[in-house]
C-alpha cells in the first residue's frame, strides 16, 4: 500500500510538469493552430532564468592572495559573494531562495521571449502546413538550446531548493503508516501545489476575464470574432506569451528536481506532445487530465512488480497509451469533435 501511495505521489508530481507544458502547447494549438515544437525550449529557458539569477546573485569579488598558490602555481583566488558583502544576512537568504525568487524574473522575460518568438517567426507560418510549422519550430528549438549550451556548457548545473524545503516529509505518519514508510521530498510537494495553482490561474484567467472570454470565443470561431471588430490576432499573441510564461515557470520550479542542462526541454517535449494528443489537441482540460494520468501510469509501470511481468513497460507505457487512444478515439480523451480526426 505504501508503495502504491508513493507511486501515486510520483505520478502526480511528474504529471504536474507534463500538464504545465502540455497546457501551453494545447493553448497555442487551440488559438493559433500552430504545432509548436519549440515549447520544450521555453521550459528550458525558464529553468535557465533560475540559473542566470543564481549566477548573478553569486557574483564574487576576487582577490588574489599572493601568499598562497594553486596546484598549478598561480596565486590563490579568495572569493567573496558581493551579495553577502552588500546585504549581509538578507543577501544570504536571497541566494538561498534564488529559485522561487526567479519566478519574478522569469515572468517578464518569458513574456517577452514568447511575443518575440510569435511575432518574429511563428506568425509567418500560420497558413503553412503543420509539417512546415513543426520543422521551423523544431529548428528554432535546436538553435535556442545550442545558444544555451554555448553560454552555460553541456553539464547539468545544480539549483538547490531553499534550505527550509530540503529533505523529505514523513507524510505516511499522518496517514497511519509506520514512521518513515511514506516519505516524500518537500520540494516535490511544493512543485505539485505550484502546478495546481498555475493551472487553476490559467483556467480562471480564461474563464472569468473579458480577455479570456474573447480568447475562448476566438478558439471556437476565429472568423466571427474578427467580424465583430475584435483584433483577435493581438490577443492570440498575448496567449502565446502566456503559454511561454507557464512553460517557463514550470521550468524554473523544476530546477531543484532536475539539474538544468541545455537538453532538458527536448526531454520533456516529446512526452508533452503525447500528453496533448492523448488529452485532445486544443483541449485545456484534456491536457491537464492526460498529464496527470500519464504521469501516474508511467510511475506504476516502473514498479518492480509490474516490470517483472512486462519488462521494459516503463519505457513504452506512455506511447502505448497514445497508440490505443489514436486508434480508438483519434480526437483524444477530451478533444473537440473533428479536430485531428481526418
Amino acid at each position: 500500500m505504501d508503495a502504491i501511495l508513493l507511486q501515486i505521489l510520483n505520478g502526480l508530481d511528474k504529471g504536474g510538469a507534463y500538464a504545465l507544458i502540455a497546457l501551453g502547447l494545447t493553448l497555442i494549438f487551440g488559438t493559433l493552430g500552430v504545432v509548436n515544437f519549440a515549447h520544450g525550449a521555453l521550459f528550458m529557458l525558464g529553468a535557465f532564468c533560475a540559473v542566470t539569477l543564481k549566477a548573478l546573485l553569486s557574483l564574487e569579488k576576487v582577490v588574489l592572495d599572493e601568499t598562497q598558490q594553486t596546484a598549478w602555481g598561480t596565486p590563490m583566488e579568495i572569493r567573496t559573494p558581493y551579495i553577502e558583502a552588500w546585504l549581509g544576512d538578507f543577501g544570504v537568504t536571497l541566494l538561498d531562495y534564488s529559485v522561487p525568487v526567479s519566478i519574478l524574473v522569469a515572468i517578464p522575460i518569458m513574456l517577452i521571449i514568447g511575443i518575440i518568438m510569435e511575432r518574429g517567426l511563428i506568425k509567418h507560418f500560420y497558413k503553412r502546413p503543420h509539417a512546415e510549422q513543426i520543422l521551423v519550430t523544431f529548428g528554432l528549438a535546436i538553435v535556442v538550446q545550442e545558444i544555451i549550451k554555448s553560454q552555460f556548457g553541456a553539464n547539468p548545473i545544480p539549483q538547490p531548493a531553499p534550505d527550509i524545503f530540503a529533505g523529505s516529509a514523513d507524510i505516511g505518519s499522518l496517514l497511519g503508516f509506520d514512521p518513515g514508510r511514506v516519505v516524500y521530498p518537500w520540494w516535490r510537494m511544493v512543485y505539485l501545489a505550484f502546478a495546481g495553482i498555475v493551472i487553476g490561474g490559467v483556467f480562471a484567467f480564461l474563464q472569468f476575464t473579458t480577455f479570456g472570454m474573447v480568447v475562448r470565443a476566438g478558439m471556437a470561431d476565429r472568423e466571427t470574432v474578427g467580424l465583430l471588430g475584435i483584433d483577435i490576432d493581438r490577443r492570440f499573441t498575448i496567449v502565446f506569451g502566456l503559454a511561454a510564461i507557464v512553460a517557463g515557470l514550470a521550468g524554473v520550479m523544476y530546477t531543484p528536481i532536475l539539474s538544468p542542462d541545455y537538453h532538458m526541454g527536448m526531454d520533456f517535449l516529446v512526452l508533452s506532445f503525447v500528453v496533448v494528443v492523448v488529452g485532445g489537441m486544443g483541449s485545456l482540460g484534456g491536457a491537464v487530465a492526460a498529464g496527470f494520468l500519464l504521469g501516474i501510469l508511467q510511475s506504476f509501470a516502473s514498479m518492480n512488480e509490474v516490470k517483472s511481468i512486462l519488462p521494459g513497460i516503463d519505457q513504452i507505457i506512455i506511447y502505448l497509451v497514445a497508440v490505443v487512444i489514436l486508434l480508438v478515439r483519434p480526437r483524444g480523451l477530451m478533444g473537440r469533435k473533428g479536430v485531428m480526426e481526418t
Binding site: 507511486q7 529533505g167 532536475l258
Partner: protein, 446 residues
C-alpha cells in the same frame, strides 16, 4: 644499326637499375619497408585524429579532452613546458615531433553517438589522412570506433571508456586503452566498502540500461557479494531518464541499506540528487546508516551534483590532487594553459597521445603492427598513476586505481573529491581471459 644503340628502352632500364641501387641502403629499414599501410606519412608532418564529443551530453568532457590533446601535441613538438614528458620514464621523445615529423591534428565530433563517431573517424582517416584515432567519452562509442579503426588499419587509442567490453569481449588488435574498467573499480572499491560499511549489507542497484551500466553492475555485485553483501534488486533504468523518482521510491522500503548508482554523467547527477532529496543519505535501515555508492566518479559530473556528493564513495582513474611528480607536472602545465585543473578525461587522453607518440618513436615507424608491438608489454612510469603496464594480452593498462569520496568541506568548485585510497595495481589485476574476446591480428590497411 648497332646493338649498343642508345634508345628509350635502354634509358628506362638504366633508370630502374639506378633507382634500385640508390634505394638499396634504405629499403631494408623499417620505415621504408613499411610502405603500404594506411596513411603512411610521406611529408614533414604526421596527422593525429582527435575524435571527441564536441556537442551532446558529454561536450564538457570532450572539450577537456581536446584541451589535453592540444597540450600533448605542443609538448611532443617541443613547445610549452614539456608537461609529463619531463617525468615520463621513456625518454624516446625528444621534443622534436615523432620520427622526425611534426605532429599536426584534425578533430571530429563523436556527439556521443556511435554512428556519428564512426562517421567522423572515417572522415579523418579517409579525407584528412589521420595516422591514428583517439578520444571519446562513452564505451558504446569507443567500441564502435575501435571496430572501425581495426577495419581501416589504423591504431585506436581509446579515451574515457570504462566498460569491461572495450578490452574484453570487444577487444581488437588495433585498439588500446589507458583508462581503467569496471572490473578494476569493483576490485578497488570492495575492500574500502567493507571497511566503511561492514560485511552485513543489503544492496539495491539502479543501473543505466546499456553496455557500461551492465558491466558496472556485474562487477560491483561480484565484489560486494564476495564480501557477504546481499543484492536485493538490480533495476535497469532508461538512459537519460531525467526523473528517477519512480525508481528511487521502491528503494525506500525494500529492506536495502545501500543504494548503488551504476549511472554516469547526467544520469548520475540526477539520480544522486534525487536519492538525497528522498532522504536516503540520512536514512537508517536495519539499524545501520543508509549508504549510497557511485562506482564511477567524474569530477566534472560531481560538480553538477553539487553538495549531494558529500561523503559518497566511488572510484576514479586519476585526480588532480595527486602529489606524484607526473601529476604535479601535468596539473601545472594544464592549469597554466587553461586556468583550471584537468579532469580524469583530460589526463587519460593526454597520456594516450604521449604513449602513442612514444611507441612510434621507439618503433621507428607509424605502421600499426610495429606501434602495437612497441606498446604491448610496455612498462612505464611518470604519467600520474605509478608504475603501469600495457598488457600485451588485451591491450589494457594496469595501474593503481583511486577510491574517492565526495569532499565535506571543499576549498573551491574544483575541489569536490578527496582521494581516500590508492589501490595498488596488484589488487586490480585479473587474468586476461576473464573478460573473453580475441584480439585477432593487426590490420595495417594499405
Amino acid at each position: 644499326m648497332s646493338s649498343n644503340s642508345f634508345n628509350r628502352r635502354s634509358l628506362l632500364k638504366g633508370g630502374v637499375a639506378l633507382g634500385a641501387g640508390l634505394a638499396a641502403p634504405t629499403i631494408f629499414t623499417s620505415s621504408a619497408w613499411a610502405a603500404g599501410y594506411t596513411n603512411e606519412p610521406t611529408g614533414s608532418t604526421v596527422t593525429f585524429g582527435f575524435n571527441v564529443p564536441q556537442t551532446g551530453a558529454y561536450a564538457d568532457e570532450g572539450a577537456d579532452e581536446l584541451r589535453a590533446y592540444e597540450l600533448a601535441v605542443k609538448h611532443i613538438n617541443g613547445e610549452g613546458d614539456g608537461g609529463m614528458l619531463n617525468t615520463f620514464s621513456s625518454k624516446a621523445l625528444q621534443g622534436n615531433g615523432v620520427n622526425g615529423k611534426k605532429v599536426v591534428f584534425v578533430t571530429g565530433d563523436t556527439q556521443t553517438k556511435s554512428d556519428a563517431a564512426r562517421a567522423s573517424a572515417k572522415r579523418m582517416i579517409e579525407k584528412d589522412g589521420a595516422i591514428m584515432i583517439t578520444g571519446g567519452s562513452s564505451s558504446g562509442v569507443a567500441i564502435a570506433v575501435q571496430g572501425l579503426c581495426q577495419e581501416a588499419g589504423v591504431i585506436f587509442m581509446a579515451g574515457l571508456t570504462h566498460s569491461n567490453d572495450t578490452t574484453g569481449k570487444d577487444k581488437r588488435a588495433n585498439g588500446f586503452r589507458h583508462f581503467f574498467n569496471t572490473e578494476m573499480s569493483g576490485a578497488a572499491l570492495g575492500p574500502v566498502l567493507k571497511n566503511a560499511f561492514g560485511t552485513d549489507r543489503v544492496a539495491y542497484h539502479l543501473t543505466a540500461d546499456y553496455t557500461w551500466g551492465w558491466s558496472q553492475e556485474g562487477s560491483i555485485k561480484k565484489y560486494t557479494e564476495a564480501l557477504g553483501w546481499q543484492t536485493e534488486a538490480a533495476v535497469r533504468t532508461p538512459l537519460g531518464a531525467g526523473d528517477f523518482s519512480q525508481y528511487i521510491t521502491p528503494v525506500l522500503n525494500s529492506g536495502a541499506d545501500v543504494l548503488v548508482l551504476n549511472h554516469y554523467g547526467k544520469d548520475m547527477v540526477n539520480s544522486l540528487t534525487q536519492a538525497v532529496q528522498f532522504g536516503l543519505r540520512d536514512k537508517q535501515v536495519n539499524g545501520k546508516d543508509f549508504a549510497i555508492v557511485v562506482p564511477l566518479y567524474s569530477r566534472l559530473m560531481a560538480q553538477g551534483a553539487g553538495e549531494n556528493v558529500k561523503g559518497i564513495f566511488g572510484s576514479t582513474n586519476w585526480h588532480w590532487s595527486l602529489q606524484d611528480e607526473g601529476s604535479k607536472a601535468f596539473v601545472k602545465s594544464f592549469g597554466q594553459e587553461y586556468g583550471f585543473p584537468p579532469s580524469q578525461a583530460a589526463h587519460t587522453t593526454y597520456c594516450q597521445a604521449l604513449l602513442y607518440a612514444d611507441a612510434c618513436q621507439r618503433a621507428g615507424s607509424f605502421k600499426p603492427s610495429d606501434v602495437g608491438a612497441a606498446l604491448e608489454g610496455f612498462e612505464f612510469d611518470g604519467l600520474g598513476n605509478g608504475p603501469t603496464l600495457y598488457r600485451a594480452d588485451d591491450h589494457q593498462c594496469f595501474k593503481d586505481v583511486l577510491v574517492v569520496k565526495g569532499k565535506e568541506n571543499p576549498d573551491s568548485k574544483f575541489d569536490v573529491l578527496e582521494v581516500v585510497e590508492v589501490t595498488p595495481r596488484a589488487q586490480v589485476e585479473y587474468p586476461a581471459d576473464l573478460l573473453g574476446g580475441e584480439l585477432g591480428p593487426y590490420n595495417n590497411g594499405g
